[in-house]
Structure formats: C-alpha cells, structure tokens
Subunit: 474 residues, 2 copies
Amino acid sequence: MITPILLCGGSGTRLWPLSRKSYPKQFAPLVGTETLFQASARRVTGEGFAPPRVLTHVDFRFIVTEQLAAIGIAPAAVLLEPEGRNTAPAIAAAALELAESDPDGLMLVTPSDHAIPDQTAFRSAVTAGIEAARDGCLVTFGVRPDRAETGYGYLELSGQPGAIDAPGPQPVAGFVEKPDPTRAADMLRGGTHLWNAGIFLFSVATILAAFERHAPAILDAARSAIAQGRPDLGFFRLDSDAWGAAESISIDYAIMERADAIVAVPFAGAWSDLGSWNAVWRDGAQDTDGVVTSGPATALDCTDTLLRSEEERLELVGIGLKDVVAIAMPDAVLVADAGRTQEVRMALDVLKAKGAPQAETFPKDHRPWGWFETLARGPRFQVKRIVVHPGAALSLQSHHHRSEHWIVVEGTARVTVGDAVKLVSENESIYVPLGAHHRLENPGKLPMVLIEVQTGSYLGEDDIIRYEDVYARG
Amino acid sequence: MITPILLCGGSGTRLWPLSRKSYPKQFAPLVGTETLFQASARRVTGEGFAPPRVLTHVDFRFIVTEQLAAIGIAPAAVLLEPEGRNTAPAIAAAALELAESDPDGLMLVTPSDHAIPDQTAFRSAVTAGIEAARDGCLVTFGVRPDRAETGYGYLELSGQPGAIDAPGPQPVAGFVEKPDPTRAADMLRGGTHLWNAGIFLFSVATILAAFERHAPAILDAARSAIAQGRPDLGFFRLDSDAWGAAESISIDYAIMERADAIVAVPFAGAWSDLGSWNAVWRDGAQDTDGVVTSGPATALDCTDTLLRSEEERLELVGIGLKDVVAIAMPDAVLVADAGRTQEVRMALDVLKAKGAPQAETFPKDHRPWGWFETLARGPRFQVKRIVVHPGAALSLQSHHHRSEHWIVVEGTARVTVGDAVKLVSENESIYVPLGAHHRLENPGKLPMVLIEVQTGSYLGEDDIIRYEDVYARG
C-alpha cells in the first residue's frame, strides 16, 4: 500500500481572477468538472493506495474536507500549516506523521494543482517506481518534453540519449533550473532531460534519513511542530511557532539536489502545471485556430486565444483577437497578452494597493457550515444568499448593529431566536431583531438555502458575538 | 425662439454590451456623468431655445421622461414611434406636430447620442445659422475634419479651399457617402469638405415645403400617423399602421441630397458620433500611451487600448495589450481588436441565436414606476431588488404561480394585499400569498427600495394579471 500525500497549500495567484488567495486554483474546476484537488485525490485513490493524507493551509481546512467528501474520499489525516513554508517542511511533517503508524511505508507526494489527464498512465509510472522506492531510492517522476519549454525545471538522466523513453526508473545525474531558450532547445534535442513534475515516491525511512543528513534543522522544526501541535475537530494543527522556525524551501533544494540514489521514472503522458493562463491555453483543447473557450464564451475570428467565462450567466465575446487571454468573472475581468500572463502578480499588487477586495477574496465566502455571498448592498442594507450543508449549524450569535430577515427558499431551517426554536420551511420567513441571540441550523438531508436581508447602521462581518460554535472559531 | 427636436430612437447596438436594444447608448453615461441624451437636451436648453420636443421609440418613453426630469427639463412634447423608420419620417412628424402651434418657427434637429463637449461653440454655430434658416435655407452643421476619416459622410462646400474655416453658412455643393481612404485623404487636403454631423436647422415651413416637393409620400404617412395617433399619459402615440407605411429612409437621402438652398455652418469644436468602441477610444481622454480607461479599470503596460468597467464593483485589468477594447459588465464582457469593433453586430447575432438575453436586454429592467433587477435565481425562487420612484405605483395585480416576500430596505411602501392597505417601512416585511390581489406604491418623497423574494413553480414576468394600471399597460 502506498500512502498518497497531497500537498495542497499553494496560493496560485498567477491564475487570478479564477484563483485567489482565499480560494486558490487547486480548489477550482479549472479543467473539467472536478476541481484540480479532487482530480488529484482521485488519481491516487483505489487499489494499492491507502487513504490520502493532506497538507494544507489552516484557512483551507474546510474546503479540503468538503471537496473530498463530495467525491466520497475520506482522508486519513489533514495536517494544517499555520503558514506556507514551501514543500520541504511539509514533506518532513508528513513523513514524521506517517512514521507513527507506518514507519516502513511508501509515500507518494504530489502537488494537487496540476493536470494529468491519463490516470492509467500515471498509475503505471507510479507502479514502475515502487521497487526502487522499496530499495531506498528517492524516486521522482519526470515528464518527457515535447517542446523547448523555459518555464519548467528539468531532471538530467545519466543514461544514454533515449533514456527518457525507458519504461522504468533511470538514475538522475542532476537538476536543472528553468533554462534559457537555447539551453531548453539543447535539452530537448539531447534526449536525456525530463521536466521536473514535483512528484515523488519514497519510503518513510528513506526520506527521514535524507532529511537527517541534508536538512536536519527542517526535520527538527517539523518534529516540534507535530509534538507541540494539537488535534482539532479531526484536523491536526501544526504548532505555529515551531512551524515558523522551519526554513521555507522546496524539497528540490533541501534534499533532491544534495541526495544520492535519486532515480526518475519517465512519464510520457500529458501533464501541465497550469502555472499561468498561458499554460492553461497551451495545454487546453485548442480548435484549429488555437482558440480555447470555457463557459459561455464566443470567439469570432480569433487565433491563439483563451476565452473563459467562469459564470453561467456571464457572456464573454472576443472579436478578432490574437494571442490574448481573457478571463471573465462577475466581479473581476483579466485581459492580457498571452505572453505576459506572468505579470498578473503585478496587477494584484496594484489592486491591493487601491484596496480592491477582488485581489484576494471572492464574493462567495466559504465557511465550515457552507457558504454565503452578497447579492446587493446599500447604505443601510445588505442582501445575502446563505447555503447551509445538511446537518451543519452556524454559531449561536448576536449582532449589535443589524437585524435580519430570513426567507427560506430551499430546504428547511431550524432557527433559534432567543429562547424559541422553530422549523422554517421553503416560502416561510423569520425575523431576527437587533441584539437577539440566534442560531441557524440545517437539520435536513439536502442543502438549505435562505435569503438574508440585513438592515442596520453597520453591516460588517465583524459585528458578531459568538456564544457557541461547533467549529471552535473565536 | 428655436425649438429643439431631439431624435432619440436609435438602438446603438454597435456599443454592446453597454448599449442594448432595450436601453440603448443615448441613455447611458458614456462620456461623463450625464447620459448622452441628457447632455444633448442640456445643450439645447436655455436662452433662445423653447422646451425640447422628443421623438423616441415607444419602448423608451418612460426612460425619456425620467432622464429629462432628473435634470429638470420639461419637454413640450414626446412623440412615440411604434417602430424605427429612420430620420426622414421622424423629422416630418416633428415638423407637422410643431406646425400646429408654431408654423413659422425654427426647428433645430439633433441626434441625442453624439458627444459635443463645447456647448458654447455649439451654440455659436447654431446662432450663426439662424438668419439663413429664417431666409428659407436648410441649414446643416458640418464638423471641420482633422483626419482622413472613412467612417463618416461628408458635406462638400461650393466655396474656395478654406471655406471650411468660415464662421457662417456656406453653400453646400453636395453630399459624399463614407469614402475610401484615398478619397478621405483628398477631401482632408482639399479644404472644402466637412463631416456630416446630422444636425439641422430650418423653419417648419421650409422643411414641410421640401417634403412636399421631394418626399410627399413620407409627409402623407407622417400626417396620417399624427391624425390617427392619440395622446397617452402626456405622450403622443403615432399610429402604427400609418407609421409603418412611411418609407424608412434618412433625411439626407430623402431631402438633403435633392433640395436646393442648402447651407452648412462649419463647426471647429470637438465632436464624436461615438459610433463604435473604436470611436469611443479615439475621441476619449487618452494618456500618453493612447490608453483610455473608465470605471475601476487598470492598464499595465498597454498601448492604444480602451478599458471600461461599467460597474463600481467590477475590476477590469489589462496587461500588455495593444489595439484592444475591453468593456466589462457583470453579465457580459466584450474584448475586441480595436479595428474590428464594427463586428459587434455579428457577435450579437451569435448571442441571439443561442438565446442569450444579454444580446438585447439588461439585468436591470426599467418600468414607468422605477426599475427592478434580478439578484439571484434558483429552480424555485428568485430574488429581486425593486426601486419605486416617489409617488409611483405598480399595477394592482396577482400571480398564479408564485408568492412574494417583500422587505423594505429604504423609504416607505404603501402595500395593498387583498382588502388590507398597510404602510411598510424600512426593516419591515410583508407577505403576498399566491393568488392575492396586491399593489405596491411609494407614497413618499424619496425612492423606495425593497427586496422581493419570490417562491413558486413558475417565476416568469408573464405570470401577471393586471387589474388596474396608472400607466395604461395591458
């Protein structure tokens, strides 16, 4: 049995506006109907795989459990990073945590924001690496290049030209940083270089030994973060102070470039890191003009262009465009030259500087009990759609500055106002006066949807006093 | 006194998505804070001008009165066209209607969707034409060209080169259709051609005589449309059958190209027909890179690009663009090569064919009593924001398939449900059961805003039975 370790802490800001700090790209259905995280989890589920373990940022914990539950996968553990420290500390923590139950086991470490459409080919590659991993190698997976890509790092195989076509593990001679075009073309011709996909297979013992030798400080920090961490509602919170002391560094730099006995399994299937909108275009389903569309998008006489509308009721039209990417959402639209999509980060700095919430957050706000979004806002009122998962409950709370009208439009709510508890069904309403203690629950088996109309002098999310909260929030 | 005739029936689809058939560009604040129609009305208001008369499509009648009221202008008449028949029938009808009260008066006929920023210069030009108009000339106004524009028609003056710089009326030798680039360059060099701005000054008697001579059938149709038309709530409805019999033709073709005694007053001020997004860009406030932005739009390293966000809470970001126009609205986004903006019409055909409502309508629906917009929609519910003008009332109505919850969030509503009449104030709600007769009124002095939550099996606008309607709708 191989234990999958899903690394799921990235912030994916280069795919703004679809991906934002509060809900990054791995949680979005960027390709197909499942999210990248769901597809990544499914890829490592089934025969030969133990339930996955997930490393994620503390802010994403409920998104992770919700998205896994939606596809019927129960994780064995979800480790919460108080802050992102890159892949080396995350892998060290995962290895230490797994060592407690399976010290001789194999770990398959994968990002959860890449696209690998051919699941069978991927599993064959993993299988091809098992023996080497059992023998104490650090197994990595390299993608056979089909162009002189300058946006990826490379693995150099020590074998003869053609080694990249071998079906099994090949010794790795070294790692190559993102190359310039000339070097990339040389490597493509040479036949001994693979793209570094950031996927690894090794035994718990092997990787822990490698950390002991090459990055003992990171291992110590990870060990402390676990020892001083604490379980919390089924998650495991790594200790903030200890975690913050770990060097923020990738596994490539911390271990792989220093270790011996590294092998790579060549992988000839399709793969994309979806690292920029240009990559999404390049690796998307292009028509004969090189146009990729998604959602209600219409391209008239465009070439080499990506048009994505991320909402059913938002029509995007492109006319006569060449080398353009356009991503439309109801609160934010990006239009960029296809060669300049790396500069999205600069745009985000501008938006942040002017205080635009779109830089980091979505109108839809995910909470452990479900989600809400603001539909309309006025000087003294706000209208929200609130969706509560079956069996979930909001905290018992009150507000100083607003009263709330709730109209249930789907399902049934159990509503507490003061001392009274009442079931409110579709097409029924209830009023929550300013100052009243209240709680909203969904006792049913289907999502409950209600429209909330707030009125008052101050309508900020921080006007909330929580008395009880099943999600242990402050 | 000159009577302004504001032609206001255009559909402006080339400026989609800002301009749509249901609410075309003249009613939008395309330049500055006032709408083009309001700016056009203001331009011909004040000393020397009688109250304006407006020709518009029947569907726009309440928009016309609402927008004029908002800037304190009371029209002398609003003539309603059952369908658009181009400018010749509209001007004939306006002349006949004005002849009843002022048969010797002067009419200044202007489109209401152009930009003429310098009001003083415009009025000077009008003044310069008065004497010729009194003397029986058909006076037109021509814009001094500053480039070899191929998108406009031209007026050819019969004077020497330099005639286009004269301060007063010049005899017109002929009209030139939109030229090819070579001809446009020739005309720019020649100094005897002006852009045809579609603005005219003449006496009622002169234009009626010209119609009698050159287009008597149109005059007959217009006369019948008035004779068989009827006043309606302060509007005048031209008769559909008679109006439909009028040839759909421009005043240029029907009269100007055939008539004698045509003079043109050269106008050297800025002018734009805002006839395409490229024109909006060209005539907009370009920065040193040729970038024009409007609303929350951010341009990073763009050149010769128009970026417009038409909503306060919609961030538009452009990166590395050249010769692109991007117009962002929450329900529709256009991105086009700047040289291809005429093809917006083709895009609309595609949208219409696939049934996208964005092709012709806005989420915000204007009614005589105010407006509403859908905020959210589900299988069995819909949420609307409804804004009712002070003193206005919706019809007494009922619905077969839905019940409605109303929560007042601004102002006070007078609500009739069955036999009961009740005042509902901010932060109060009322329930309208399925089938109940109900009416909503705003008895106050400020707009009243309410949130309506509909639930039911069918939520179309056509599930309405009207019992009484102060706006005489069916």
